[in-house]
Subunit: 371 residues, 4 copies
Amino acid sequence: MNALRIGLIGTGYMGKCHALAWNAVAPVFGDIERPRLAMLGEADEALAARRARELGFERATGDWRRLVADPGIDVISITTPNALHAEMAIAALKAGKHVWCEKPMAPSLAEAEAMHAAWRASGKVAVLGYNYIQNPLIRHIKATIDDGTIGTVNHVRIEMDEDFMADAATPFTPRSAASSGYGALDDFGVHALSLLFTLFGHVRRVFADMAKPYADRPLAAGGRRAVENHDAATMLADVEGGVRAVVQLNRAAWGRKGRIAVQIFGSKGAIVYDQERMNEAQLYVAEGPVAQQGYRTLLAGPAHKPYDRFIPAPGHSLGFNELKVIECRQLIARIAGETSVLIDFDDGLRMERALHAAAESFRAGRWIDVG
Amino acid sequence: MNALRIGLIGTGYMGKCHALAWNAVAPVFGDIERPRLAMLGEADEALAARRARELGFERATGDWRRLVADPGIDVISITTPNALHAEMAIAALKAGKHVWCEKPMAPSLAEAEAMHAAWRASGKVAVLGYNYIQNPLIRHIKATIDDGTIGTVNHVRIEMDEDFMADAATPFTPRSAASSGYGALDDFGVHALSLLFTLFGHVRRVFADMAKPYADRPLAAGGRRAVENHDAATMLADVEGGVRAVVQLNRAAWGRKGRIAVQIFGSKGAIVYDQERMNEAQLYVAEGPVAQQGYRTLLAGPAHKPYDRFIPAPGHSLGFNELKVIECRQLIARIAGETSVLIDFDDGLRMERALHAAAESFRAGRWIDVG
Amino acid sequence: MNALRIGLIGTGYMGKCHALAWNAVAPVFGDIERPRLAMLGEADEALAARRARELGFERATGDWRRLVADPGIDVISITTPNALHAEMAIAALKAGKHVWCEKPMAPSLAEAEAMHAAWRASGKVAVLGYNYIQNPLIRHIKATIDDGTIGTVNHVRIEMDEDFMADAATPFTPRSAASSGYGALDDFGVHALSLLFTLFGHVRRVFADMAKPYADRPLAAGGRRAVENHDAATMLADVEGGVRAVVQLNRAAWGRKGRIAVQIFGSKGAIVYDQERMNEAQLYVAEGPVAQQGYRTLLAGPAHKPYDRFIPAPGHSLGFNELKVIECRQLIARIAGETSVLIDFDDGLRMERALHAAAESFRAGRWIDVG
Amino acid sequence: MNALRIGLIGTGYMGKCHALAWNAVAPVFGDIERPRLAMLGEADEALAARRARELGFERATGDWRRLVADPGIDVISITTPNALHAEMAIAALKAGKHVWCEKPMAPSLAEAEAMHAAWRASGKVAVLGYNYIQNPLIRHIKATIDDGTIGTVNHVRIEMDEDFMADAATPFTPRSAASSGYGALDDFGVHALSLLFTLFGHVRRVFADMAKPYADRPLAAGGRRAVENHDAATMLADVEGGVRAVVQLNRAAWGRKGRIAVQIFGSKGAIVYDQERMNEAQLYVAEGPVAQQGYRTLLAGPAHKPYDRFIPAPGHSLGFNELKVIECRQLIARIAGETSVLIDFDDGLRMERALHAAAESFRAGRWIDVG
């Protein structure tokens, strides 16, 4: 395969993360042509030029449509705010580009469905940026489940918590407006669903509750404004394969910074994981003398592929950004028609349907089947 | 106050725990008359005599009614299987004895209400054995919440998990029969509710889901029998004071032995606790430089009263049995008309109403107000 | 065996601990005659009487010699300050009593040797209060080492740390005077040696370093006084069986409350333990797929005898005081001529010789063979 | 400053790590010219060409002397086996290149001194690859010490443990030969000294002990060969500023993968860190109510610079490789004459002198002053 030519739209949090991944993927893996960082799109020409220089892109533009239309680009990373995803992704797919879009697809289900339709029509690769599923330990957890080490899984708990909305004094921003979505449910819920999907399958039935830790927030200009969405949410879910899941989401949980705590219980053992300690997993297997049984802390190492591509020694810690490098390598494999683990627009859409069903459940106060 | 004269009915798990507490309470606290261990009741005379000798009781009987009727007894510890609580407690209260009954009150709400009525009529003290609330660190957590250290609490999570039902090969026992109750919901749920009540108040509204990890279990005589209750349950609850709670209960959670994991989130901080490490609590306070904030592990010590009555040095670990000694001291205080922290038949009944409402919610698939 | 008749001298920290153990040992184990708490000795009659009433002793005396001479006493718990051990233990042994003396034997080696000689002459049982070795998990660790699970042990680390001397503002007390001993070396070192001895054997060669975190301390009356011993010490030791040990002791280690952190490395695995989490041990066994290897957290439970005598359910936590109950049961077994795990005056003396050799090593700046 | 032109010699473990850092440093920091990856040197032309392509270098050579002589190179990363460092570094400095050499300097003190002399003569920058000191949390720990938060530090413990030599069945390799050095003492000891130096200063006096867990190892060709160096070592050290340190090093410690456990005790608090959880540090400050004191777990975040250059959100984990990116940025600063935290050939030489003094101490069985 010739070197892929990359376009990047957006250079915020995840935009930089994409840029770092495109820079690192070839030296890390050593088995692909180094992608050409062809063009960077930002809100205006000056910013675009500055960021291109910083991040190593050859060209820059203040008009994302020019980037999408450029014939010298094969793949487009879309890392702009969620509300812009649909328009950009659809345009990119129509222009015959592969798309790597940050999660979630879009605030509304209708937009997500339009993205899905555009993908179906395009014949191109379109995947979503669910990086947590790329952790070698998550891969290992999946393998451990699939080989029966913990028996048949019956129960899963996921908690995703951060604290960026925990301070009552944090002013009202668009994040608290209804237009940005349901709140924690879509902000965090998609990550939880990406793990459930990767490990077990899609959600079939859901019940949800949501909560507002703070009814209103201060306005910069003075006065207060009612918060329109929910910083905390709980989902009960029936998942394919007979797994029952409880998902708790809270972006107002003081002291939690990047917690994604997973507990998986099976008929022969259990697995526990927390993203805040992303280089550790805990495994319990009910075998051997009772006096010697216990949760075992696995430290990530070369035995957990592709950790070995980054570091030859165990226990030396991968970082968050490196998960995106793995995702990038998976995307390149997908484009080359090779096996890969990714969430495409099809599975992504199903996950977002589950979220919207959850929101409906909250309004109705009862269980909802996911269409 | 003269030395209390104690009767004990039942010498299983909690019966021995009561006996140890009655033996230890005077030397530990050093501020009360040593109770007289007057009479022990067991299933037959021989067993009763043996246990009385082992546990230090003066007299023994194979007929609990004789114990209840004995004029030389002031307080009766009832530690028999749940199905026997109501008859015994009612008889004891009618006989003018104070009652210390292990949790929960009874399998059916009707029986619990009858116990409550008997208590009201008796003028005696009647309390339930919720020992986890007696942990000095739980007291400290309550004080920390009450003094505003973590601001206004908005969200609480409790997980209670053990693994005694985790093995699919465990035979069908009465514990899996409908007659023993709902399963994890009442087996474990009352402990979770005891903590919620102690820290925040009673549950006002509840939604519940329950699950059977195993549909049936082997019979000793061959064949299999359908499991009639649920080894796992989840409750969403609105609690007095505006706290939202998520309670997860699982007695089939491999590797969990005595986990009661509590997470409390407030507007200024958070507190985390796990009964498996009952001498530790974690406190996060959102103050000072961000770079120096973090969850702080408090090790139980003399500063957490009444730890100091057991050990003068910090970090030396109280044990599970010692919580019952504290509960015993609280009971003696209650009988003496002094301030005490205990769950009496009134609050106990309200907690059991919440459980029955949860079961109704599961059947109905919707939220239920607790009467 | 008839009920043992107990005398207790001293009711401070460990005195109360002994009293609790004598009260609890029969109901906990259920297989022995309840000891009779015959007489308590304290500094004066009034205090002795008060404590006897609190702790459940029948008689009291302000003169310990009367207690030692009393024909109605079989065993004497000696829990007074270390400087008094020798005189009391020797008198008790001469009076034909069994002796249960708190550790260490005595500040000077000469006194310890005199105690040893008195014991040899007496034909009685004389053991020291090394309670940490009684933890069911320490027993389990020993069994795990002995059965070869971690192969041949080659390296051991022990850290014992508390912080009661960590505050520079803590006034000068006798604890900082040379007359009280070397400092951390004897204060803590004996505990570390008790673990080394229990698990591996005696120390044969030692090198030590000691440090004074604070050169002087304030006097209550004003002014300051030079600290005469060392709050921190390190010992390198060759232990019987070819084990190399590094022992670190610090009573000025802020935030450590009862830390006794043990790391044991063998040819096939490792074991880690920390007394601050006395219900947990960690076991690493180098077997099975590398990707599934890790330190396994064992939670104390009935499989670790005699935990089962205290609580029938795993993961429910024993406490520090309960270790003394186990030690008490061992003492009763020893008196009855049964198998027991205890440190008697012979092994205790060898341990104290190792400490004095360590002190000599520090002065000389070289390795010293333990005589 | 113009873009630096980089030469890299060696592409093993640390060679790849350097290559990843040179690729990432500009996009991560965004404030420097992207370095030009000019030439890569490996053992032969074919391998060099392949690695150059993988790692993104423009040119390749099988002869490191050509690389050193190339006028189109400004900085040379030397990541070859330790025995080659001296010759290459001296040649590079003589050729007027800046040198970034992996630790340690060289197996013998004479070589290290020659490297030092070449550096003094060159006027160029020459630094060593001590990446652990670049962790934002280590920087934060240093700042926390320097601002007095934990008072005056009096005692430090460092343990560095891995298990790559733990298996007795691991064959004899050059690592076990005397020619490769002392064993754990220099293999790991330099890392421990780099932390001591960064936080406190140089070692002034040292006592050491070393141990061989296995006396011999199997040879591939059959038979066994005596192990010539020591897989475990302990150093007691007096450090500048009055700090006493105990350093334990073990490359045969089963289950430890990248442990560098640091404990720092001061007059007002303590700090604890473990490289296996490199995104966490623990801080204890002896202030506020005793009941609320405890070790506080700090999770790395943007408040710990330059974490923010990698990820804008806290608690999302940096990785081991990213420490090298920070080191790379420090090197660029050093070359530009800006402030930087690095270990140059001067401090590096002093650290290696301490190691050789430790080895002498072991031989002599006494304390040795570091020259």
